[in-house]
């Protein structure tokens, strides 16, 4: 049976990614990060509440960890960390195709550029979502261990509510990863150079957005990175979950459209 032509780029990209080094780093790194973040969450959770600043995530409390959604609180905290990693991964993929010159080889077999690059991005996104499932499972296991160490009761974690909370946390993380991934791919497509793209992406989504956040209160409501952080944290006081998801998705769609138009038009010269 032959796969539909539109899926060929996805399958071809999965062949590229099927290397131990790539699979290992992606499927190993995300779960490892989730375990670390979970451990830190439990280690630093406070016994008493402090009111949060606008735009900041609410403080994590030991009593909150005992609730049904406490089981995956560590995983939820990971996803903002994951953002940068996912951005770098997708950026390296798309910009690397230009730098290496492999894009021109691939384009002779699939000249529909949007279909080719779209398929490649989808393949990496599927792999990232799979890695996030592993991360969720690893983080839950770590949570049970950590709960034992800090005497957090876990009765609520085995309820249907806990399962639902885990599902919600996963979807938020998957959504934020898609956002960061698409931004990374769009940036890589626009700049066509891994070092330049990394410079721009890491500077903006790392320190710059947070520095500007200090100076301008609107930053938390309008900057894509801060909005995606808000999504993965389930909303902030400055921008709730629904608003963050909507505005964030609109911003991502905007940059993806710009990158797609550029990809269709621009000469492939590498």
């Amino acid at each position: 049976m032959k796969a539909p032509a539109a899926l060929r780029p996805v399958r071809a990209q999965l062949l590229v990614l099927r290397r131990p080094a790539v699979l290992g780093s992606l499927l190993g790194l995300l779960p490892a990060l989730a375990v670390v973040a979970t451990s830190i969450s439990f280690a630093t959770a406070d016994a008493f509440a402090v009111p949060p600043e606008p735009g900041e995530r609410p403080e994590l409390l030991l009593s909150a960890l005992a609730r049904p959604d406490g089981m995956t609180a560590g995983f939820a905290a990971t996803s903002s960390l994951l953002g940068m990693l996912v951005l770098v991964l997708f950026l390296a993929l798309t910009a690397g195709e230009h730098g290496r010159g492999t894009l021109r080889m691939l384009l002779t077999r699939e000249p529909r550029r949007l279909r080719l690059v779209g398929g490649q991005v989808l393949a990496v996104l599927l792999l990232t979502w799979a890695a996030l499932i592993l991360a969720l499972v690893a983080s839950i296991a770590a949570a049970f261990v950590a709960a034992g160490l800090r005497d957090v009761p876990t009765e609520a974690w085995t309820s249907a509510d806990a399962l639902r909370a885990a599902g919600t946390d996963y979807l938020r993380a998957a959504g934020a990863a898609a956002g960061y991934g698409l931004i990374g791919s769009a940036l890589g497509t626009l700049v066509r150079s891994v070092p330049v793209g990394l410079g721009i992406g890491v500077t903006w989504f790392g320190p710059l957005e947070h520095l500007l956040q200090e100076a301008w209160t609107g930053a938390s409501r309008w900057f894509p990175g801060l909005l995606m952080e808000s999504v993965s944290a389930g909303g902030t006081t400055a921008s709730g979950l629904a608003r963050s998801a909507t505005v964030g998705a609109a911003l991502v769609a905007g940059i993806v459209l710009v990158a797609a138009a550029d990809l269709r038009r621009r000469d492939v010269l590498s």
């Binding site: 060929r8 010159g101 492999t102 080889m105 002779t108 077999r109 000249p111 000469d267």
Partner: protein, 308 residues
Amino acid sequence: MTKELIVETTSLTKAYRGRTVVDGLDLALPAGVVCGFVGPNGAGKSTTLRMLLGLVRPTSGSGWVLGHDLSRPQDYLPDVGALIEAPAFYPGLSGRANLRVLATLGGTPAARVAEVLERVGLAERADDAYKTYSLGMKQRLGIAAALLPRPRLLVLDEPTNGLDPQGIRDMRGLLRSLADDGPTVLVSSHLLGEVQQACDWLVMVEAGRLVWSGPTAQLLTGSEAVLGCEHAGDLPRLAALLEARALQVRRVGNRLHAGPLTGDDVLPGLNRAAAEIGITLSELRRQSATLEEQYGTLLADSLAGSLR
């Protein structure tokens, strides 16, 4: 007689930031030929080939490959195999895995991968990582990739570039054998000696402009006559006779070189005309100018043309 054209362009032009690098190129490549696409470095060969493959958008002009418009490469690239400039593959993947990626992408049956690896002589090293390959092996993998779709048109951009003499010999042999398989081949080179032997069709470009195109044999018949006569004193009269027939004449020792000859029937006519004015020729033969000499004149002509 209208022959099917595999590649056709009219006034194909590409400018980068206002600088024209391919300048109103008219190409017409008949089916079944092995065509050498020749010009010095920077002549615009790679840019032209990139336009034919949908990688670079023409600034103006139009073109057709296998009968399809250049603006829709998805219509003809399934039947085109190409290697543009240096081969580029994923360094961490083996040669075989790299070809599998391309075969999957193009919907080529997986069994074809082993066939083309065998064809270019890479079967034994096919499972080693691409980054461990020598330059010649990388080049051969690039050719294998171009062969994957069983192309009707094979486009190769300077496939011997950067190879050592042995690598160049191997590559030439491979190219000759590829042509036997039947596809129309378009191979670029800045080295004329290479295409003179291997190609039956030539397209010559310089500074983005077409200088000459046509069957290699036709270019080669643009050769000269070498004449010697019994009495050296007759040489001036013989020269005048040749000049009257619109030939360029130069004296080399006791012989005259006259050209260019246009057809095969010129020599007997010259012999008769000389006899009629009482000159007995001691020597009369045709000498093919090497392509390199021809090329030099063509380039000089076009240069002079652009200065005028």
